[in-house]
Amino acid sequence: MRDFQLDSPVDKPQTLQLLAAADDDTRLLAGGTGLLNLLKQRLASPGRLISLHRVTDLGGITLDGTTVTIGALERLIDIGEHPLIGERLPVLRDTLAEVASPRIRMMATLGGAVAHGDPNQDTPVALMALDAIVVAESRDGVTELPIAGFYRDYYETRLSPDQLVTAVRIPGDWHSSRFSHKKFTPGSREDYACVGVCVRLDFDDRNRCTDSRIVLGSVGPTVFRSRAAEELLAGKAITENLARQAAQIAANETDPVDDTRGSADYKRRMAGVWVRRCLLEAAGP
């Protein structure tokens, strides 16, 4: 690991002040499970880190009306075990239970998982199916960025260099929505997914699909929604045949790479398999 300077602000205002003065050789360090791996392998070598380990005012999990707000420095394990998340967002609870190992979930933060921009992260897949909002702040003010448009490329987001993710906001009441998700790991369970899928379906009283989200992770430069597959479902009942067509559309939109979790071709095929299965499970009895 290359040498670096390390600043340790104690609260949000100090952090924003440091960020305002930072150049592009500066990176934020939250739980460390993502960035420290990149530093150790010299895939990143910033000259300066702003470590958030002393920051105490970016936590909390709250409910306001139907909106759940989760502070950026909440640890993944604490979010998954919080009663509010279990009651209102079980798909997020279940997704978090499959992230790496309990030890890593004790270290990793939600803000880090979102801002790292790693397409292999599980958490953004569920957050995108929930239409989550990334709350970013700089000294110029607060910006709310829908997570569906948040990612640009591998490890690249729409955050500007002076912006700090302060919270993730999940508006909406999802009690009548149907969810299904799958983290497919052909190797060991704590590994990154070969393909990750989260599906949300809403139905009218005649069982026709009124709205949907079909989100895929680990099979492209970013976590993404297959909007073409979602459009195919609009106004229709979810049949085996329709699910197969939507899954094919989604699979065609993937752009995976060969690695130890499978060849690009295998991942693309598995994306189709798991989108189809998730759609049928979400639509099922």
Binding site: M1, D3, F4, Q5, L36, S51, S101, P102, I104, M107
Partner: protein, 163 residues
């Protein structure tokens, strides 16, 4: 080289005041600066669990944490579990039930099991499997490790010694 920073760590109840570079990993600090060799370097990427320590009650991969970020914290390694000559019930259970072979993974296994049993004294087999997934044993002695954890949970609940 960036100037060293003065930090204080309480490790297994003993206070240490040391100077470290910002890039010093907690693992290297414990092993090379303080001579505490319970935590091992296995994979170096947070997957295998051999470097597991507890920092302020949380499990941490010491290979993915900076020592300077642990300034002022209370750290427990496997060396800190025994009470004098009396082993912790989890350590005793690992001995009594053959929960190790080569022993490299054992410090991390024992600490990870402690975090589990502190939260849930009577975990099911599925809960043990799900919790311990981040601790790899390359001798593959997982049945004996799970058996040791079940026994330790019973011993800790009844206040008897492990076994």
């Amino acid at each position: 080289m960036t100037a060293k920073q003065a930090i204080s760590l309480r490790v297994n109840g003993i206070d240490h005041a040391i100077q470290v570079e910002p890039r010093r990993l907690l693992l290297d600090c414990l092993r090379d600066d303080l001579g505490i060799t319970g935590p091992k370097e296995g994979c170096g990427v947070g997957v295998c669990g051999a470097c597991t320590v507890m920092v302020d009650g949380r499990l941490v991969s010491a290979c993915l944490e900076l020592a300077v970020r642990c300034d002022g914290t209370d750290i427990v390694t496997v060396e800190g579990l025994a009470d004098g000559e009396t082993l912790h019930p989890i350590q005793q259970a690992f001995i009594d039930h053959g929960g190790f072979q080569c022993g490299i993974c054992t410090p991390g296994m024992v600490l990870t099991a402690k975090a589990l049993l502190d939260r849930n004294p009577a975990p099911s087999d599925d809960e043990i499997e799900a919790w311990m997934m981040g601790s790899l044993c390359r001798c593959t002695g997982y049945y004996k490790i799970a058996e040791s954890i079940r026994a330790a949970g019973k011993a800790m609940s009844t206040g008897t010694k492990g076994g």
